[in-house]
Assembly symmetry: C2
Homo-oligomer: 351 residues x 2
C-alpha cells in the first residue's frame, strides 16, 4: 500500500456524497443515453420504446439480517425494491437480471428458496428474469438486481421537475417498515440472550410485512394514468420521506412545506412508535424502506387526486428561497433535514 497518501474514510462522504464525487465529471457519449446518473433510473432512447434502467445491491449484514429475514422474503424484496425504482419513473418493468454471490454457508436449497421469492415477485408483476450471474463469495450473501422498464418518452417522470405550488403527494403510509425492523431487532436481541425465549411478533404482522415484503406501487402509477394525472416529479421512498423530498427540492431548485398533521401513519405504527418512545411523525419522516411513491402534481389535479385511493396530500412545493420546512402540529416551521437511512451511516453506527 502507498504511504503518505491522503486517506479519507468512506463514512466521511456518505452514499450520496460519494456518488456525486465519483460521477461529477461524466460526459455522455452516446445519443441513446437520454439521462445518466442522478435519478431513480437511467433513461435510454432505443429508437423504439424508451427504457428506464436501475440497479440496486442488497448486502448481507448491511441491508438484511438472515437471522430474521426468510430467504424467500429476501428474494421477493430484492426484486420489489428494484421495481419500485421503475415505478418512480412512471414506467412499467419487463425484465430483471439477478446476480447472486453466496458463501459456502449457503446450501443449494437455501438459494432455491431465495429464487422462489424472486420468481414470486417477477410473476406477480409480469417481469421476465432474463439473465445474471451466480458465483461464490468469501462471506455472506450479496444480491445485485438490474431492472428494465418501459414508458412513452412524455410519460417518464423525473425528480428534478417539480413546480412551485405543486401539491406534494405520497402513497400508502409511512414509518411502518422501520418499526418492523425495530421489532425484529428487539426480538433478535431477546433470542440471543436466551434462545429458549420465543420471539413476540404476534400483533405486529403489518409492520413486519412492511419491512420484509414491500410492494412496488405500480398500482398507483396505473391509477394516476386512469385519472389523467401526470406528476411533475416523482421519487420512491427508500431512505425516508425527508431525504426524498429534499432530493426533489434540491434537484428541482425548489423549497417545500410538509405538514405533520397530513402525514399518513398507520394506527399500529403510531402506537408502536409511542411504545418505543419515538415521535411517530419523526419515524414517518426518517424511517425509510417504505417504498411508497412521493410525487408532486399541479393544483389543477386536486379534485382528481382525491379520487385516487391510498394517496395523501402532505404539503406543497414553494420557491427555493423559502427553504424546505416541516410544519408541526403546533404550527411551528422547522427546517427539514435528512436523518434518513444512509448505507455508510448505518454501517458506522451498527458496528
Amino acid at each position: 500500500m502507498l504511504e503518505n497518501v491522503k486517506t479519507t474514510p468512506l463514512s466521511a462522504y456518505g452514499e450520496f456524497g460519494l456518488i456525486e464525487l465519483l460521477t461529477k465529471n461524466i460526459q455522455i457519449k452516446n445519443k441513446s443515453t437520454v439521462l445518466g446518473v442522478g435519478d431513480d433510473a437511467a433513461i435510454i432512447n432505443t429508437e423504439g420504446r424508451h427504457q428506464v434502467i436501475a440497479k440496486d445491491m442488497l448486502i448481507e449484514g448491511v441491508h438484511f439480517d438472515i437471522s430474521y429475514c426468510p430467504l424467500k422474503h429476501l428474494g421477493y424484496k430484492a426484486i420489489a425494491v428494484n421495481l419500485s425504482d421503475v415505478a418512480a419513473m412512471n414506467a412499467h418493468p419487463e425484465q430483471v437480471l439477478v446476480g447472486i454471490a453466496a458463501s459456502s454457508r449457503y446450501t443449494v436449497e437455501a438459494i432455491e428458496e431465495l429464487y422462489k421469492g424472486i420468481y414470486l415477485c417477477c410473476n406477480r408483476y409480469g417481469v421476465d428474469l432474463v439473465g445474471g450471474d451466480t458465483c461464490s463469495s468469501v462471506s455472506g450473501l450479496q444480491i445485485s438486481v438490474t431492472v428494465i422498464g418501459y414508458a412513452e418518452p412524455q410519460q417518464i417522470v423525473r425528480r428534478n421537475t417539480a413546480k412551485t405550488n405543486d401539491l406534494i403527494c405520497v402513497s400508502g403510509d409511512l414509518g411502518a417498515a422501520y418499526l418492523g425492523l425495530l421489532i425484529l431487532e428487539r426480538e433478535k436481541k431477546v433470542f440471543m440472550q436466551n434462545p429458549k425465549n420465543q420471539p413476540e411478533l404476534e400483533g405486529f404482522d403489518y409492520l413486519i410485512e412492511r419491512q420484509l415484503k414491500p410492494e412496488p406501487r405500480l398500482d398507483i402509477i396505473d391509477n394516476l394514468r386512469k385519472k389523467n394525472i401526470l406528476p411533475n416529479s416523482m421519487i420512491d421512498i427508500s431512505d425516508g420521506l425527508a431525504s426524498e423530498i429534499l432530493h426533489i427540492c434540491k434537484n428541482s431548485k425548489k423549497g417545500c412545506a410538509i405538514f405533520e398533521d397530513k402525514l399518513p401513519i398507520d394506527t399500529l405504527a403510531y402506537n408502536t412508535a409511542m411504545d418505543f418512545k419515538l415521535i411517530p411523525s419523526t419515524v414517518a419522516l426518517n424511517g425509510g424502506e417504505d417504498y411508497e411513491l412521493l410525487f408532486t402534481i399541479d393544483q389543477k389535479h386536486y379534485d382528481a387526486i382525491r379520487q385516487v385511493e391510498d394517496v395523501s396530500i402532505i404539503g406543497y412545493i414553494t420557491d427555493e428561497n423559502e427553504g424546505c420546512n416541516f410544519i408541526s402540529n403546533d404550527k411551528k416551521s422547522i427546517p427539514l433535514n435528512a436523518q434518513g437511512w444512509d448505507a455508510y451511516l448505518k454501517k458506522t453506527t451498527t458496528k
Copy 2:
C-alpha cells in the same frame, strides 16, 4: 434454521449446474424478451434497435486479490469483462451500470482509483456509465456491472447456432492470463514468507497484463464485419477454451475437433508453462480469463478469415454423435472435458 431438511452444498452443483437448476422453469411473459438466460447476454426487442444485456459480478477473494491487483486495473477489468460479453453477441456496448459494495477498509481515495479504471475502460470503448449503486459491505469489495449493447437483429450471434463443418476460430492467444495469475500468486507467496523479498515480475509483463487488464475484442467483431463474415455462433472465453467450445457444442447439439497444433499460444506463455511443469496446450484449453472470442464460421469464409488479423482456425464443428474431441500433436483423439475455472470449484480448492 429448519431441521431435517435436505442440504446440498453449492459446490455439488457448480456454477452452470446451479444456474440450470434455478432457471429451468422460466416462462417468458413479455414480447420484448427475445432471449432470456442461457447465452453471453439476454436479447431485448425495444421496437427500435435490438439490445443485448449482460451482468457480471466480481467478488474480492474469489475473482480478485487486492494484494496484487491494483484498484485501477480492477476497475478497468470489471468493465472490460462485461464489454466482452457484448462483443460475444456481435454487438456494440453503449451503457454500463456499476454497483459497488465496499467495506470500511476501503478509503474514498481507493474507490476513486477504482473508478479511474472504470472510466478509462468506458472512455476507451465509448461507453456511458449511466447508473448504479454505491453501498457498504461487511467485508471486502463486491463489484457488479450491467452492460447494454446494440446490434441489428440479424447481426446478433448466439452460442446455439453452430453448423456442422463450420470452422472453429479464436482471436488472440490463449493461456497467458492464467499464467499471469500463477506468477502473481507465486510472488505473493514469496512476499508473505519474507516481506523484504521484492517480487520478481520483470519479464512477465505480457502475462501479468493479460491477467490484470484484459481487453474486450470489439476490434475483432469490427474486422469480421468489414470482411462480411457473420459467425454462425460465438462466445467469449472466460472459463477456458474447453469449457466454452463445450457450451457451443452442447447448445448447438454438435460435436467438434480441436487441434493441439493449431492452438495460438504466445512464446512467453509457452515457456512459462514449461517452467511451471504444465503442458502449454492444457493451459490454453483450461486456463480461462483470456476474454478472447471463440466463434464458428461457414467454410465459404475460409479465404476471408485468413485475412483477418489475430484470428486462428483451431478446428471444425462435427455432428453431435462424433463427440467433442481434442486431437493431440501425436494424432491421438481425446474427449474434451471442461476443467475450466469454475466459481465454486475455485472457492472449494483455494480455501
